[in-house]
Subunit: 248 residues, 2 copies
Amino acid sequence: MKILWLYAHPEPRSLNGYLRTRGIAEATALGHEVIRSDLHAMGWNPVVSAADGTGGTERFLVGDAGHTAFRAGRLPPDVTAEQEKLSAADALVVQFPLWWYGPPAILKGWFDRVLVKGFGYGTGSRYGAGALAGKRALTVVTAGARASSMAPRGIHGSIDQILWPLLHGTYFYTGMAALPPLLVGSADRATEADADAAVAALRARLRGLETEEPIPFRAESSGDYDDELRLRPGVAPGASGLEAHLSE
Amino acid sequence: MKILWLYAHPEPRSLNGYLRTRGIAEATALGHEVIRSDLHAMGWNPVVSAADGTGGTERFLVGDAGHTAFRAGRLPPDVTAEQEKLSAADALVVQFPLWWYGPPAILKGWFDRVLVKGFGYGTGSRYGAGALAGKRALTVVTAGARASSMAPRGIHGSIDQILWPLLHGTYFYTGMAALPPLLVGSADRATEADADAAVAALRARLRGLETEEPIPFRAESSGDYDDELRLRPGVAPGASGLEAHLSE
C-alpha cells in the first residue's frame, strides 16, 4: 500500500519523533511505500486565508469560495501538493500529541485547508461514502494523561469520544474507514522502556493496517437516520450519546 | 464585566462578522467593557515552535519547556499579550465557524500557545477549579449543518459533545464555567432574516452572560472519580458516554 504519514510535532527528539522514525521503518519493512508530510518541518501554513479562495461576493455567504478555487484550479500550490499526496495514498497515518484534547493547530489546519469542497466532501455522499472512500485512517496519539483516564468512564472522556471530530467528523465523513486510535498515555514521563513498548504497539497496529476492522460508525445511507438527520426512534432507543452512532 | 471577545473568521462580510459587530455593540450597551482578539485581523500565529520554549534537553520529554519559558518570563510577546487580556477578563466569548467539527486552526492555536503550564493549567487543581477559575466562557458557533442534525441523536453528534474538547477539556479543565454553546445552524445559506434571528439569539445570551447556569460537569474534586480518574461504579452506573460526566 501507499501510506501518507501525516505528522505534527515541533521537536524531533520527542517521543513522537521516535515513534515516527520507528513506525516509518516498520511500514517500509512491511513493503509499504510511505509518503511523508512532517508539518512543522515543512513550515506548513494552517491558516485559511483569502489566498485559499475565501471571500465570496455575497454578504454572509462566503463559505464556498474554496470550492470555486478548487474547480478553477486556483488553490495555492502547498494545498494542491497535499491533495495529490492524499489522492495517491491507500491509507493515512495521522500522528500527533494531544493538545487541549485535540490535534495541534498545525494539523487541524491541514484538514481545514486541504479538504476543500469538491476534493474532500460535497461530492454527493458522506459518512461511510464520499470523496475519500476506500482509504483507511489510523490515528497515533500521545497524551500526558494516563490511559485509564481516557478509557470509557475516564475523567477526560474516552479517547474515541475525545477524537469524535476527527474519527467521525473528518475520516468517516469523507468516506474513509476510521480505525480505532492508538493511544500512548503518560507520554510526558516516558522512560526508554515505555518508548519501546509504544513502538511495539505501533508496529503491531501497522501490521494490521490493511485488515483491521474499522470503528463501526453508522453510514448515512444505512437508513438509521431520518429526514432531519436524526437517529430514528427505533435505533438505539433512548440513547443520546455518541455511542448511539455505532452499529450493533 | 470585562469580556474578552475571541474571534476567528477570515472574512468580515461573513455571517460571523455580522454577529461579532452586533454582539460587541450589545455587550457594550449592557455596560460591559469588551477586549478584542480578532485572530485573522491580528495575523495571529497559531503554531507552537521553539520560540515558545519547546525543546527541552531530555530525550522524549520536551513538553514542559513552555512552562520554563513562562516562569522565566521568556514567552513571545504575542503570547503574553493574549495572557494579559485573558487575565483581565471576567468572561470569554469564543466565536468561530465550525470547520471539520472543531475550531479553525488559528483559534485552536490560540489555546495551544496561550494556555501554557503555569498560566492555564498545572497549578494544582483542574476540572471546575484551576488557574482560570471565576471566569465564564460562552461559545458562539456557526455551522453549515442544520441544527436538528447537531441535536441529541443528530448524525453529527450533539453540539455539546462535538465541542467536548473545548467545553470540558479546555474551559472546565482550566476552571472556567462553560456555558451552553449558542449554535447558529444552516449558516452557509443564511438570509437577512436568518442573520437577524441569530443576532437576536446572541443578544439574549449576552444578557444572561453573568447569571446563566453553566453546563453541570462533575468537578474533579467532587469525589465522583476514583484514584485512576474513572467514574466510581456507583456514579452514573453502567454509562460509558460523555453524558456520564454531567452531574444529575
